[in-house]
Symmetry: C2
Subunit: 166 residues, 2 copies
DNA sequence: AGACTATATGTTATAATGTTTCATTCATGA
DNA sequence: TCATGAATGAAACATTATAACATATAGTCT
């Protein structure tokens, strides 16, 4: 049925006023489904960490996560968070932003991928792209130099539509 | 004179057997010239750190630099290295590789720019690109989303021509 | 159920990376 | 030569991440 509307992907830069509780609920439900399909275990701890990661649409540091997790689990320590993040990243539910030593929920976790990120330096809101043109431009130049690409890190900082002057 | 050969840029992936002492000497001489032109001060310490950074064509961590610097300056401490690196980065003589928490000498320091890096995971050799097609692909998608780009981090890992099987 | 196994989590310590602060030295120019 | 600002020395501290080992939990087999 080629004329059916596909489900709209979430806007790359959600409006500050959007119903973020729904984003979180969706992300958790999707994670549950995907882990179920894959035989991966989304334990209580991992679910809690994923929920904390999704508290905003911006990257959050491991120790900030830890502070918040401690409200839920008094004994939480750095490995508690890092181990959960490791599994969540393996499952493609969370990405790491190297520039910021921080983590963000994946916007399209259905298929494994490396994201490309547009990070607002003012409000932190971050859009995740998966733009073939960018990957292709990299791939093409690498190939010309005889370089076999494994991983691509693309992290762009700037101002999001809400924070941009004018 | 459109038919004159322009000076060849250094190969993005230098052969392992190349005369690297010449790379280092060229990099130091260029740095000297550029700093002279700009009224920036390439002090003895900064020159030493730049030379250590250029010991290879791969990224090197701040504490590895510190270890080596201590052979030359017994009292060196972390700020010794980080302060020198800060100045060298301001002058565009060194880039930071966020993925690796490491630093590498800039291959074309004449004009200020952010590099794009192809990093060999086997031997560490890293090529610095300044490929308009990559920057353009990013810029174009960002613009479409209303995002005003400030900085672009492009760090690609893989295997260089020398390390690639076949 | 009971024993076995693999996975997950708790707990403590430590490693790796990066910054702040204040004192001292050095270059430069009035 | 003295005043000034930049650069470096030195110590402490902050942040980010991992290692090592103990305990608990969840499935699996008998
Ligand atoms: Zn949201
Ligand atoms: Zn913003
Ligand atoms: Zn060389
Ligand atoms: Zn290589």
């Amino acid at each position: 049925m080629p004329h059916a509307h596909p489900p709209l992907p979430p806007a790359p830069f959600p409006a500050p006023s959007h119903d973020h509780a729904r984003c979180v609920a969706t992300a958790l439900a999707t994670a549950e489904t995907l882990c179920g399909e894959r035989g991966a275990r989304l334990t209580g701890l991992r679910r809690q960490v994923l929920e904390l990661v999704w508290e905003s649409h911006g990257p959050i540091g491991a120790y900030d996560l830890l502070d918040r997790l401690r409200a839920l689990r008094s004994g939480a320590a750095p490995p508690t968070v890092y181990r959960a993040l490791e599994v969540l990243m393996e499952q493609g539910l969370v990405h790491r932003i190297n520039r910021l030593n921080a983590f963000i929920g994946c916007a399209h976790p259905d298929a494994p991928h490396e994201g490309q990120f547009l990070i607002c330096t003012r409000c932190g809101t971050t859009a995740e792209l998966d733009e073939p043109a960018i990957a292709h431009a990299i791939e093409q130049r690498a190939r010309a130099l005889g370089f076999a690409v494994e991983h691509r890190t693309v992290e762009v900082t700037g101002l999001c539509p809400s924070c941009r002057p004018g």
